[in-house]
């Protein structure tokens, strides 16, 4: 613990008169803004020279943990390796210095990349048309539901179709998106095998149903065995099926959402397609739809003329409009495109290995942690620390914190809500057998420690810059920006 020195905030390193910037000084006419609009007092931005700036951010990076730092089995996040070549490619001046308002004739390379990516995503999903606009999975979800809404409005059925069916295992973004799209939530239960309860479902699906929102495999890492029947139930009721693509890493090239019966799909390029998570974004959440929904897609659309030239078509009268600026997060799209080009049809192998890795971990851990659904999993699985809690007072949180001492990022904890003391583990395909065995080893040791030395777990982690933090205090005494007034002036 003592190896971590206390790190000042950048404002505490600040000293008046210092500056890192280097701006050109031109001979220019005097120009001022009107006095009524002029800034009275300068903002208290940091004042540091560049070397100290470099050192400060380097120290911050040292206190962070990424996929490159160690195993990162966060369930439903697909923390796979981010190919470094893709960073170089997205930074090519022809991409990075291309203005989005540039005339289409002078952006043909960028438009071509987008067009090809759309085609690839259509093929991967088994659907017909794609938009690249949404900036993240959540925005893709909302876009998808807006498309559902526009479709039913066009059919004259929107008044009647108010409900979207969402399973109790769903990620919180699903119900949040339902509300934002102006629908009502209709929850449905999961049965003992981890599938949707079809009996419960038949009772709730009817003429007031707009859509189903489903992740397949589910957040339990289990493939929806009744998917064909499920699709039939909804389509017969005149409703649509929406696929949350967060778990697509399990089934690429094996089972496509379009073939499962879904009508609208969103992808998480920062999950399945390896674009870096960046500590919380940027991501990208493209959406693919069945032909019938194509007219409603966000505008503009990329279209190809007979001579092969690409341009933007804004004459889309039925479009839901725009969900984000320009064509989407282009720099992220470049990386996903590159990833898909490197695999091609071998994306299937990517998914096979992801599923193999997960099942291997499952087979070696299910005797030590509780498994509620005794089935082979797909790319992730959920264990429970409930037994450890009952017998030794050790929670999923304690297990998570102790894993840090083994140099491993914890799995997702306390989700999905249907499993108490949940540990959701997703290794992804980019892990070696040695890394997987190291994780198994650590988890088995922790289970033993739970019985022998529980205090060690309650006090974990032991080797990080901070111990467990008081999150209640962070709410009650909310400090959400630097308190300049409360701090003593710097002495430099």
């Amino acid at each position: 613990m003592s190896e971590w020195r206390e790190l000042p905030l950048i404002f505490e390193l600040s000293k008046p008169g210092r500056s890192a910037c280097s701006l050109p000084r031109y001979e220019l006419p005097k120009a001022e803004v009107p006095a009524a609009l002029a800034r009275a007092e300068a903002p208290r931005l940091p004042e540091l020279a560049e070397p100290d700036l470099a050192r400060h951010f380097s120290a911050l990076a040292d206190r962070n943990f990424g996929v490159d730092s160690g195993f990162y089995p966060l369930g439903s996040c697909t923390m796979k390796y981010n190919p470094r070549l893709n960073e170089r490619l997205a930074a090519l001046p022809g991409f990075a210095d291309l203005h989005p308002h540039q005339s289409p004739e002078d952006a043909q390379g960028a438009l071509e990349l987008c067009f090809q990516l759309q085609e690839a995503l259509a093929e991967i999903s088994g659907l017909d048309a794609v938009t690249l606009q949404p900036a993240a999975g959540s925005q893709g979800e909302l876009t998808g539901l807006m498309l559902v809404r526009a479709y039913f409005q066009d059919e004259g059925e929107l008044e009647q179709r108010r409900k979207v069916v969402v399973p109790d295992t769903a990620h919180g973004t699903n119900p949040a998106s339902v509300t934002m799209a102006g629908f009502e939530l209709q929850p449905v239960k999961t049965d003992a095998r981890g599938n949707l309860d079809l009996e419960d479902l038949r009772c709730v699906v009817g003429p007031d149903t707009a859509a189903l929102m489903l992740t397949n495999p589910s957040t339990l890492g289990l493939f929806e065995e009744g998917i064909v029947e499920l699709a039939r139930i909804f389509h017969e009721a005149g409703a649509l099926l929406y696929y949350d693509g967060a778990n697509l890493n399990a089934v690429c090239g094996i089972s496509r959402p379009g073939d499962m019966g879904f009508d609208v799909v969103h992808f998480n390029l920062h999950k399945t397609f390896s674009t870096p998570h960046g500590g919380g974004g940027p991501g990208a959440g493209p959406v693919a739809v069945r032909r019938e929904l194509e007219p409603f897609l966000p505008a503009p659309r990329i279209v190809r003329a007979k001579d092969g030239a690409l341009s933007l078509d804004s004459k889309r009268p039925k479009s839901i409009g725009r969900v984000r600026g320009f064509l989407g997060p282009f720099g992220v799209l470049v990386k996903a495109y590159a990833f898909i080009r490197v695999y091609g049809p071998a994306l299937k192998e990517m998914s096979e290995v992801a599923v193999l890795n997960a099942n291997y971990l499952l087979s070696r851990l299910k005797d030590v942690y509780e498994l509620r659904y005794d089935r082979l999993c797909k790319h992730e699985f959920v264990l429970s620390a409930a037994t450890l809690k009952r017998e030794h007072g050790i929670s999923a949180l304690d297990v998570a914190k102790r894993l840090m001492d083994y140099g491993i990022h914890p799995p997702t904890v306390y989700f999905p809500l249907v499993v108490p003391e949940a540990l959701m583990i997703e290794p992804t395909e980019t892990e070696s057998l040695e890394t997987l065995d190291g994780f198994v080893d650590a988890m088995r040791r922790i289970a033993a420690e739970a019985a022998d030395t529980p205090e060690l777990l309650h006090q974990a982690p032991h080797g990080r810059p901070v111990e467990r933090l008081d999150e209640a205090a962070a709410v009650k005494r909310a400090i959400v920006r630097y308190e300049f007034e409360a701090s003593a002036p710097t002495s430099g």
Partner: protein, 131 residues
């Protein structure tokens, strides 16, 4: 700091882990030990306005911990006559004393007969045992 598990005999209970202390034509509401145990350290109380109507089994406010938010369910119907100010500055009081200092609202009852539908302490403890 949290209190030991206990359920006073003089209170009436609602299955959503809310309690009512009936005092003539008025009642005081709060949440049970079980509720505060499930939520963890409480950080925020969103009360109804004084003068607002509350309906039996309906939500009358919200209570939050760091990791969870929960509707407060009214055991009985009535009009809010007082809100516990202390709860807004020190919501963790509920964890220490869910039945005394941690009371939430005082209500003038619309229909005291509704109390018959509530659980007594034995029935509530039975409910907890079954969960």
């Amino acid at each position: 700091m949290a209190a030991a598990e206990n359920y006073p005999a003089d209170l009436k209970y609602h299955s959503e882990h809310d309690w009512a202390r009936i005092e003539g034509g008025e009642a005081v509401f709060g949440i049970t030990w079980k509720a505060q145990d499930m939520l963890g350290e409480l950080v925020f109380f969103q009360p109804p306005a004084v003068g607002a109507d509350v309906a039996k089994d309906g939500a009358y406010g919200e209570i939050e911990s760091v990791k969870a938010v929960s509707d407060l369910v009214a055991p009985l119907s009535g009009k809010v006559v007082a809100v516990n100010e202390k709860m807004q500055s020190a919501p963790e009081t509920i964890n220490d004393d869910p039945y005394g200092e941690g009371w939430l609202v005082r209500v003038k009852l619309a229909d005291p007969g509704e109390a018959d539908a509530l659980l007594d302490v034995a029935a509530y403890e039975q409910l907890l045992a079954e969960e």
